[in-house]
């Protein structure tokens, strides 16, 4: 496809076309999370972002992760955040600006950081295409086996951390 100014743009395949839609949705939702004045709108946009990331995992043929993403992030974390917003409602519709006084420096730094990452991602010669992956139960089974063999310590420590974190959360939020 030839754009004016002589810029050559390769025609995207169907898969790439759908990926662009999903990525745009995710990016716009992520931008809405940090720019929305109403905190509850931020939380809803965050849920949309989590769904978009789950879609990206589908593109990467990591179905188990996509389902975990929806279960843990959309099902649990987004719900927790919504509850926390409703429990602390006085800040929900800010009378003052939702931004602190270092937002200018922060936005400049974020944009610079994004440009640096973008330049790096574009300039590095990455491998063109990944190897063939047959995403089926065998892959998920192997992931499960790795968790009880190679990564057994990390897995057990994560379980302990979750237990301690949840007991600690109950202790912290308890009404005395």
């Amino acid at each position: 496809m030839q754009l004016p100014l002589g810029i050559e743009v390769p025609i995207p395949t169907f898969e790439q076309f759908v990926f662009i839609q999903v990525a745009l949705l995710t990016a716009v939702a992520a931008l809405a999370v940090v720019t929305s004045r109403n905190l509850f709108h931020s939380a809803l946009a965050l849920t949309l972002t989590f769904f978009g990331v789950a879609g990206v995992y589908i593109f990467l043929e990591a179905e188990f992760l996509a389902v975990s993403q929806v279960l843990v992030y959309v099902g649990a974390i987004a719900m927790l955040i919504a509850f926390a917003i409703m429990l602390t409602r006085s800040m929900m519709f800010g009378r003052t600006s939702p931004l602190n006084n270092q937002w200018g420096k922060s936005s400049l730094f974020a944009i610079l950081f994004f440009s640096a990452l973008l330049a790096f991602a574009r300039a590095t010669p990455w491998p063109a295409a990944g190897e063939e992956v047959v995403a089926d139960e065998a892959l998920i089974g192997q992931l499960g086996r790795e968790f009880v063999t190679t990564y057994v310590i990390a897995f057990e420590v994560l379980g302990l951390l979750l237990l301690v974190a949840l007991v600690g959360a109950v202790m912290l939020a308890r009404d005395r």
Binding site: V56, F59, L65, S106, A110, L117, F147, A173
Partner: protein
């Protein structure tokens, strides 16, 4: 096949959004949302590199670490929000600019 750099660019954008949100928002819950965005961006990178790496069928390290990060994010959100609710009960605000008891 979607090129690896596209995933990296999306993850870079999500990370930068999260960074801005965590640094510039005054509400503690909004800061936490920024941190969640950054964790998601890191996860996209891990899974993308797993998919485009050598032998994705044999070596599932990228996916395994992504699962660990999802679990870690759940613990982080639970403790963070419990702290925010405890602070709100004590101080009637969760504006991080006003929470300066420890400032010298």
């Amino acid at each position: 096949m979607v090129p690896l750099s596209w995933y990296l660019m999306l993850a870079a954008f999500l990370f930068s959004c999260g960074l801005y949100g965590a640094l510039a928002r005054r509400n503690a819950i909004a800061m936490l949302m920024g941190i969640e965005l950054m964790l998601n961006a890191a996860n996209i990178n891990l899974v993308a590199f797993w998919r485009h790496g050598v032998g994705p069928m044999e070596d599932l390290t990228g996916q395994a670490f992504a699962v660990l990060i999802i679990g870690l994010a759940a613990a982080e959100a639970a403790v963070g929000l419990a702290l925010i609710i405890a602070v709100y009960r004590e101080r009637r605000t969760i504006d991080v600019d006003e929470l300066d008891v420890l400032a010298g």
